[in-house]
């Protein structure tokens, strides 16, 4: 089993899907000749030709609009938006067409497409290149939203997303693109969109995270164990919408305490939704208020300050400790 980084794993998933299903095609800015600014689509043009690996003019709205049209026609486009910050240029097309056309056409045109975009901080980027606004899409009916946390989940989730008959927003934690390698089997493991994974078992507190935040969350869990003998259960959300409420509720029902971690702004973010659901389904098991360790409701800082802004293991530990000490 080859060890791959996330870029390679995503490339593999695209390659296999292009090979196996000629309805699949890839489009976006610089995806063909250049192979993508992060090289996720490298080599695909040479293999599948310019009809299926398509460089587009610089217009995100038109990219999504075109992809929706292609899906209507029966293709399975995977559209890349170069940075998630520029998905806003396509917000109208995403909400008004991508999310709605199955419904508007009374089921006639299911929009089986994927919108890929790198998101999140940590790569010393300029303004608009570090945002995490997955909550916009979670708040938008008709979409699915998934976020991998490593090469392997990236590969499997991308397969699942392309396979799905509904439109899927696929956010890639760009800080992890080349951060580490994992064994990635030749064939994808079938995983269902909508399922979380328990990344570490524990009994004392539940830490919920996803994407690039899985690393500090797991680090925090290890430290909690090493330093305080606390057994933290760590859940990798993977699917933001639909969300695996049951797994979250089961865990918190067991531990009674919970910290939710994400990079995006706090107000109306994913953590708020998780808290609301746990409040609804596990209220009687809660021993302490659920803590949010999230991005703040400010613009993502210029990169010299980003390491302070982003949630890290220390902050998660601090929050966990406060939660654990709550009486």
């Amino acid at each position: 089993m080859p060890k791959m980084n996330m870029v390679e794993a995503l490339n593999l998933a695209l390659d296999q899907n292009l090979a196996n299903d000629d309805r699949v095609c890839v489009l976006g800015e610089d995806v063909a000749v250049d192979g993508g600014v992060f090289r996720v689509t490298k080599g695909l043009l040479e293999k599948y030709g310019e009809d299926r690996v398509i460089d587009t003019p610089l217009a995100e709205g038109a990219i999504i609009g075109a992809a929706v049209g292609m899906a209507v026609y029966g293709l399975r486009p995977v559209a890349e938006i170069q940075f998630s910050g520029f998905t806003l240029q396509a917000f109208d097309q995403i909400e008004q067409n991508m999310a709605r056309l199955r419904h508007r056409s009374h089921g006639r045109y299911p929009i089986s497409m994927v919108m890929r975009a790198p998101y999140g901080g940590g790569i010393r980027a300029v303004e608009h290149h570090s945002e995490s606004r997955e909550a916009y899409w979670a708040h938008t009916p008709g979409l699915k939203v998934v976020i991998p946390s490593g090469p392997r989940s990236a590969r499997d989730l991308l397969h699942a997303a392309i396979d799905d008959s509904d439109p899927v927003i696929f956010y890639e934690p760009k800080a992890l693109y080349r951060a580490f390698r994992e064994d990635v089997p030749d064939q994808p493991q079938k995983i269902a969109i909508g399922k979380a994974q328990i990344a570490r078992q524990g009994t004392d507190i539940t830490l919920i995270a996803y994407g690039a935040m899985m690393r500090p969350a797991l680090e925090a869990a290890q430290d909690l164990k090493d330093l305080h003998s606390i057994e933290a259960e760590v859940i990798d959300l993977l699917s933001i919408s639909p969300m695996d409420t049951q797994t979250l509720v089961d865990s918190v029902s067991k531990t009674g305490r919970c910290v939710v971690v994400h990079e995006g702004p706090r107000c109306c973010g994913i953590a708020a939704e998780i808290i609301a659901r746990i409040n609804e389904h596990a209220f009687e098991h809660l021993l302490a208020p659920i803590k949010r360790v999230t991005g703040h409701d400010i613009h993502f800082p210029y990169f010299q300050c980003e390491q302070h802004y982003l949630p890290d293991a220390d902050t998660i530990i601090e929050a966990a400790n406060e939660t654990l000490q709550y009486e």
Partner: protein, 391 residues
Amino acid sequence: MTPSAPELAVKSSHIPRRPKITPPKPRKDISTPTIALGEIPNLQILNEKGEISDPSHEPKLEAAELLRIYRAMVLTRKLDTRMLTMQRQGEMGTFAPGMGQEATQIGQIYPLTKKDWFAPSYRSFGAQLWRGWTIEGLMLLWAGFFEGFEVPEGVNDLPFSIVVGSHVPLAGGIAIGIKQRRDDAVVVTNFGDGAISQGAVNEAFNFAAVYKAPVVFVCENNGYAISMPTDKQVATPDLARRGPGFGVPAIRVDGNDVLAMIVATTEAVQMARAGDGPSLIEAVTYRMSLHTTADDPKVYRRDEEVEQWQAKCPIARFEKYLMNKGLLDPQAIGRLGDECEQEVLEARTRFRERAKAKPREVFDMMYEELPPELEQQKREYLAKLDRKGVQ
């Protein structure tokens, strides 16, 4: 291998790189002008008096065909009028009447086959009927019943778009798909003079031009975007020239002349089918009625203006042409009108039978399979209906 949309039946392991396009069969019966990238050509074939003003382009259509076109325009207007009455009587929601634009409507899709695509905006009764949408379907959706949006079997069209201009990039996307598959279908999409200000529409022009996608853009310049006259919407004397700025050849057509619309669209569709890419048709017409039933045009336009356009009525004009040709007489006109009226009334009966709200279905068609959280919300919602005794 030609795919069948929306689901491509077969997966081909190898897609040829060279286009295999069915060579267009040039229509002998229609002689086309030249849609251009430079000076914008103007096209009118039938003048306001119903006389042929440009004989070189008069299409040689058979009598039956001419009458079919005439009937479609009459039916469109009958539906329009009836819907307005229904709306005023509370049987219909807000809708957008198309009175005065019948020639534009029928002309723009006349050259399409069933396997071609049409992506209309909301003011497209005429074209939708011609394409195979049912009258009762249109009534249902404007009356607020979801099922009205159901795309009829065998119709390859998008449901119309309410958001101005937002469907235009989709039309381009369908055309890109067609081109990729060496399918010989084409796409026609229409939108208004207001829509041409939307970034989405302009982005779509560029995409279509860059990919030489087989799409025909029909801009129905009906003089107004709600209260905004076209000459305040744009700073150019016409809308057609927007095309060449993007490399999309364009033509300006008298949109109240159904022959000119047919001829221009025929050329545009032939171009697209031949692999020559997109084109833009500006159809100059006039919205005789309200923007929507919530609108009061008296606030922003003068009655005289409306009266001037009355004289250019697309139906009356074509009627005169057919009468001069001996294909119609007052009696036939009356009979045909009654027939159309009858057709609308019969559809209204079917509409009334089907006009039952189905509140239990609002969670349908959201996803292929409802996720658990939505299942739960649905149970919650159905319990509420149960409590209220709503079926």
